[in-house]
């Protein structure tokens, strides 16, 4: 609660600033307080949500001198020899990761939910959840160790699969799977906890009624629990898909750690970064960013409408 007083002051400050701007003839004292409370958020949303998106649009359709470029930037980046391989890499990674996420997260949530021993269920969820503390560069570094047969805790396993060196492990063909494993390891636990919570919200009467009617565990899972999880699975799909298209830190670090066995333009976001900071072509970078943004939004929109997300509002 220590945040309350400053929040008051800020809100009051915003209130004073805003009042003259809205001479809409309301009686004093009836000023909608909602505007005051959302003012700072609206400001940030404009500065770091709306404006950058619009700015990206402008940049993508102009050239370095600020003149209108039409589709020029898009044909340039799409025609880049690095573009389609990057699309393929990210797509493969997304397919593997999303399938793994849906199958294993939902499966594990159902299993953990079925554990009757209370401490065991809690402990399982905790262990699954723990890697979530390691994200970004830290989790990639950890997996560099795990994938390096000289130091790996599972070097026996790696050798058994015929991988005798780090370079053999990170061959380009393996990368989509490797990135999917890293992302799954880091992120799955949080989703398992969310699915578990959603399963807890299913009324016990309904499950008991199904049992009385003779449904077995598998039938209950398939016919009752899964359909009721639909919304949450869609939610997980949207968030993961949107995030996955932005693949950056994993290939970036792997490229650095492998003496460029993994190229530094492996993913689309890396390519955008190369355009912006190696070629000083911000218009090209904006074009790639915009493509990524539109694809993420389109795919999310499909998930949202098909999955019945946000039905209430």
């Amino acid at each position: 609660m220590t945040i309350a007083p400053p929040s008051d002051q800020l809100a009051a400050g915003a209130f004073e600033r805003r009042r003259p701007a809205r001479p809409n003839g309301r009686a004093p004292g009836r000023t909608p307080i909602g505007y005051v409370f959302v003012s700072l958020y609206a400001l940030l949303a404009l500065a770091f949500g709306v404006f950058p998106s619009l700015y990206a649009v402008v940049l993508a359709f102009t050239n370095a001198d600020g003149g209108f470029a039409g589709a020029g930037n898009f044909t340039k980046v799409v025609g880049d020899f690095r573009f389609w391989p990057a699309v393929l890499h990210v797509t493969l990674y997304l397919v593997i990761w999303l399938v793994a996420l849906v199958v294993f997260v939902v499966g594990l949530a159902l299993l953990v939910h079925a554990v009757r021993v209370r401490w065991a269920g809690t402990a399982l969820r905790f262990v699954y959840y723990l890697p979530g503390a390691l994200a970004g560069a830290s989790s990639v570094l950890l997996w560099l160790f795990v994938l390096d047969p000289t130091a790996s805790p599972v070097s026996g396993l790696l050798h058994a699969f015929g991988f005798d060196s780090f370079v053999a492990v990170i061959q380009p063909g393996h990368l989509p799977a490797i990135f999917a494993i890293i992302a799954f390891w880091t992120g799955a636990g949080g989703w398992i906890v969310i699915m578990y919570g959603a399963l807890n919200n299913i009324s016990t009467e309904m499950l008991e009624a199904a049992q009385v009617d003779g449904a077995n565990a598998v039938q209950i899972a398939l016919r009752i629990q899964l359909p009721l999880l639909r919304k949450w699975i869609a939610y997980m799909g949207v968030m993961s898909l949107a995030a996955g298209t932005q693949l950056f830190v994993e290939p970036q670090l792997l490229s650095q750690a492998s003496n460029a066995v993994v190229p530094n333009d492996y993913s689309l976001n890396q390519l955008a970064y190369q355009y912006a900071f190696q070629q000083n072509d911000f218009n090209g970078a904006a074009a790639i960013s915009l493509i990524l943004l539109v694809v993420a939004l389109l795919l999310s929109w499909v998930f949202v409408t098909r999955g019945g997300l946000f039905e209430k509002e």
């Binding site: 503390a133 919570g197 750690a257």
Partner: protein, 290 residues
């Protein structure tokens, strides 16, 4: 759900245990490896415990790296994640409350905007935000990461869901009749009842910002301004095991790199361990929407 039958139950158990190993083995190994010398790391049993002596040596090497750069990076991370945390709470909690429990004309528009921006991955906006802040002359300043991090639509959405499902409007109306001003209604009634969601938003904001890589990587060109997550790349670049060309005076051994990984996640790990209980209930706050 009850798993009938002995074989079904043991199969389920095996699957769950396999995943325990999958999730836990890397972490356990990492924690053990910081106690080993570089040689022991590759030769000794992966799950053996090293020695205090080697741990101290790794520690000294890590914090001696580039004259104490690691300390600077951790300090930077604390400033960025802490600053963004405070701002996020000041901004998101009142906004979520207003969206849930007050009426104003642009309410619906702002809610839709929140949902849409929530679906935009934060990394997609990094380059446009870079260009924006570049023209504002903020690149390299702490504000260039703190301000974008403070915009946290997911936190607003969580707060919105929580307040719209768990606080009856009658309660607020009663407080108004008793003479509370709108601000008092928020600080005296809603905020105390909203303590769990404040903690949850704080947790998500902190974890996300501490672990953020791409934003600071782009916004902060100088090593002095790196947070630890970006600093890790400098350490990685100086590790001969992954980067043979880097063998030199300031090179980093594998156990030291492992220690750096542990140190970089320690604050988040501690927050995780302490907040585990309320998190499990809190993370599903959205689930009570039905």
């Amino acid at each position: 759900m009850n798993l009938r039958g002995w074989s079904g139950r043991s199969l389920a158990g095996v699957v769950m245990i396999l995943f325990v190993f999958f999730f836990a083995v890397p972490i356990v190994w990492l924690l053990l490896s910081v106690t080993k010398s570089a040689k022991a790391l590759t030769v000794a049993n992966p799950f053996s415990v090293g020695s205090w002596h080697d741990f101290v040596a790794n520690w000294n090497q890590l914090f001696g790296f580039q004259d104490g750069a690691v300390t600077t990076w951790i300090g930077n991370s604390a400033v960025y994640a802490g600053g963004a945390l405070v701002l996020t709470l000041l901004v998101s909690i009142p906004a979520g409350y207003a969206l849930a429990l007050t009426e104003f004309k642009l309410r619906r528009a702002l809610l839709v905007l929140t949902l849409v921006v929530m679906l935009i991955p934060s990394t997609a906006l990094v380059l446009p935000i870079f260009l924006e802040l570049n023209s504002a002359g903020l690149i390299g300043s702490p504000l260039s990461v703190i301000l974008p991090m403070s915009f946290f639509p997911f936190g607003v959405y969580l707060t919105y869901i929580y307040f719209s499902t768990s606080i009856p409007r009658d309660l607020l109306a009663a407080a108004r009749i008793d003479g509370c001003t709108e601000v008092q209604v928020f600080t005296r009634i809603a905020l105390p009842l909203g303590a769990p969601i404040v903690a949850l938003v704080a947790f998500f904001s902190f974890v996300q910002n501490w672990n953020n890589f791409f934003l600071p990587f782009v916004m902060l060109p100088s090593s002095d301004g790196y947070p630890i997550q970006v600093g890790l790349t400098s350490l990685l670049a100086s590790t001969p095991a992954f980067n043979p060309s880097s063998a030199g005076s300031d090179s980093v051994q594998l156990p030291t790199l492992a220690l750096a990984t542990v140190v970089s996640v320690l604050p988040v790990l501690i927050v995780f361990l302490f907040s585990q209980r309320f998190l499990v209930s809190g993370m599903t706050a959205g689930g009570t929407k039905e």
